[in-house]
Symmetry: C2
Subunit: 445 residues, 2 copies
């Protein structure tokens, strides 16, 4: 970038710190990112930018860090409407007495759309530009994502038993392939198969999904080893861990994304590493439901790609990837009994490039790099809790609140500006949420 | 409050939800708190307030929860200047290669004052109205607290070895008693003895402190059982756990506040419970330094009062009691392997009344109650991440950011109004921090 070639750009964002995520740990002081259309076309120093970049619009962020848009690699966005409806109860009671009965009664197109609208707004406000979603009526989540111009990977659910969305595994799978067809040319909407969990999907549909995923070149996104009970039940039933069973069914591959992974023996870890499968760690949900600990430091050391997700709002209770990074970085140290485990830059990688890898989108997003989509988040570090600032990556992970997210772009389009939404009608989203709250409250009283 | 008696008040705060903390879990909808001078003079419904309270000033908070001011029961405020200076390194390396050399080089009156000013501002911004502080030059922390009108308990440090503050145990103790004399009639400044830890203070000064604390009616605030190594070293040295040694030295009493308490055997727990000693849990610091897990649910069940603290900024890296409540509530579930452990209302108690009990100030603060000081924090729950709102206490603990703290009062004086400081010069505080950052950075390069 030292030659005086002229680069045309629509937008030049000049920030105190540009954190591209790759190279690992790099912090580029007084740097710029130039955007043309939906892509990044240059990253250079402010001095070089003055000489070489001709931009229609220039934005100067004097106390901000510019990072890749955060990637929430696992969630159930519509469950935002159930935020805090059943806290502090054991997992079985939570599912069987609260969540499942409410879902049976209320889950519908309009519920999912209202919930996804709320979740998408919360995610944008907290710097997330891409999320993986596993829920019924994924077409409604697509609608919410397109309306907000945020990127999503829809893991279309597959179960053995009937719900409002489908009657049996065949119908779930057929709806999943249709969803893929509907969005195969979309820039923002990606799809995956979402078999719920080893204990809710039997061998035949899993084998079918394995074949289809290969034919259609799609990821398989699945809850795996969420709790000790899941593993011990499986061992009692047929002497295999769920991972071992998935391996024998041919599901272990770079397409497989295992969410939670709290109870892995050394053989399971070796199998996942060898297969190149991914793990999504959801630390706050794992803690809140007392599911168990995911040994992130050990898994990363084994060479497994570990991404980060919030899980749904009913077990978190927010969709805040900045606080999730902090919880991940802190918890990993406690679990590994090693204060050097999961350093700040690695937590940021989990929330960006590792998420992109898990979703199979790392050629497009996950770092600030020329040629990738302009998915970017600016965080204002001029706050008391970010003062003094010896290391911006450490500040973001250990001391920042997501309310400090000031600007967000997805595919070059600005979604948040000085903390304000550029397009969404937040009052309408809140009103719709209040209506659903009234209905759900009435049903639980 | 149903009779039409007229109560004169200076301020009537009317909030959507008043959460007094006692009775446990109570949420009073559309209620008011009336303040006269520095005290709470009435708590009643908005309807009753209209009939009975004659207030000079009225404030209506339509989407807010009003809670007791948060109590940060353990920290080292001046270390705010070392926020993030040495992350992701093991405890011994952190202390011996970063923190202690920096303290030796820089700790002075002006360092402590600048750090305490920064910390106090961050605490007020995040809803804290009282903090326990253990650091050198506690007189400077008092100065910062008085300037900001925030309540503090200064645990005046005692060590066997010399620092810039004192040369030997006798001098530390003599400075501690002088500090107490200086502030014995202060409404905001309270004092305690702060022997650093069992492994840094020998038997003779500990016995002396035990006698003095009883004579002067003062708490003893001490790091105890911070790590497994501390306990195993003690066992190797003389066959006793640190708690057992403190018991034999006569220190276990309702005056003793044990900070950290990560490695307690059943005998230690029984001793603390029998003595009525307190524990301050610092979950984020324990995780960050991989110190070990404090079994909060088990300790509470044993009848021990467990309060909450952030610890210093160099091992956290913020002073945010709202995120600390969340970490405490989440982590306790994981550690106890029980999703019902440490429910939201109990986390709020730890951050308010339990803190007041540990500091010996529960007759004055820690709940919203008539006759107590008007230490109050309002949190605006009209945010996407607080929507919908089935239970305000759950929202505060599991989904709120401290940036939602809107109003803060301490002893009836307003410190924060619509998120803005009423008195502090934040730019001056930031400038002073930047100057110290430059000096510390130069020393670590």
């Amino acid at each position: 970038m030292s030659e005086a070639t002229s680069i045309q750009a629509d937008l030049l964002v000049s920030a105190k710190w540009v954190i591209p995520v790759q190279p690992q740990g790099a912090v580029l002081e007084d740097h710029c990112v130039a955007v043309k259309g939906n892509k990044i076309v240059a990253i250079c120093s402010q001095i070089d930018a003055e000489k070489t970049i001709n931009a229609t619009e220039t934005l100067y962020l004097p106390s901000h860090a510019l990072i890749p848009g955060l990637i929430n690699a696992h969630g159930h966005s519509a469950m935002a409407l159930m935020r805090g409806i059943a806290d502090d109860v054991p997992l079985t009671e939570w599912l069987e007495e609260s969540i499942w009965p409410l879902e049976t009664k209320f889950v519908s197109e309009s519920f999912v759309l209202a919930g996804a609208n709320l979740a998408v707004a919360e995610m944008i406000r907290s710097g997330t530009t891409c999320f993986a979603d596993m829920y019924f009526y994924p077409d409604q989540v697509a609608k919410a994502a397109l309306a907000a111009n945020i990127r999503v990977q829809l893991a279309s659910p597959v179960l053995d038993f009937p719900t409002a969305w489908a009657q049996d595994a065949d119908e779930y799978i057929s709806k999943a392939t249709k969803l893929h067809d509907d969005y195969r040319h979309s820039e923002l909407i990606h799809t995956a198969f979402g078999p719920h969990a080893p204990y809710t999907v039997s061998d035949a549909p899993l084998k079918k999904l394995s074949t289809l995923a290969e034919e259609m070149d799609l990821p398989i996104h699945m809850h795996v080893h969420e709790t000790a009970k899941e593993v011990s039940d499986a061992l009692a039933a047929d002497g295999r861990t769920p991972i071992e069973r998935l391996k024998q069914l041919g599901l272990l591959s770079p397409r497989l994304v295992c969410v939670h992974a709290t109870e892995l023996c050394n053989e399971d870890i070796a199998s996942l590493a060898e297969a190149g499968s991914h793990i999504v760690h959801c630390p706050e949900s794992n803690l809140k439901l007392a599911s168990g600990f995911c040994e992130v430091a050990k898994l990363s050391k084994a060479g497994i790609n570990v991404a980060l997700g919030t899980d749904g709002c009913a077990s978190n209770n927010d969709l805040d990837m900045i606080s999730e990074m902090r919880t991940a970085a802190l918890l990993a140290k406690g679990v590994a009994e090693d204060a050097s485990a999961l350093p700040a830059h690695q937590a940021l990688e989990m929330a960006t490039i590792n998420g992109a890898r898990a979703l199979g989108l790392d050629a497009m997003i996950g770092t600030l790099e020329v040629g990738k989509y302009a998915d970017m988040t600016a965080i204002d570090l001029d706050a008391l809790n970010s003062t003094p600032n010896y290391n911006p990556i450490s500040q973001i992970v250990y001391a920042t609140q997501s309310s400090q997210v000031s600007h967000v772009w997805c595919s070059g389009q600005q979604l948040l500006k000085d903390g304000e939404f550029t397009g969404l009608d937040i009052q309408a989203i809140k009103s719709a949420s209040a209506e659903w709250q009234a209905k759900l409250s009435a049903a639980t009283d």
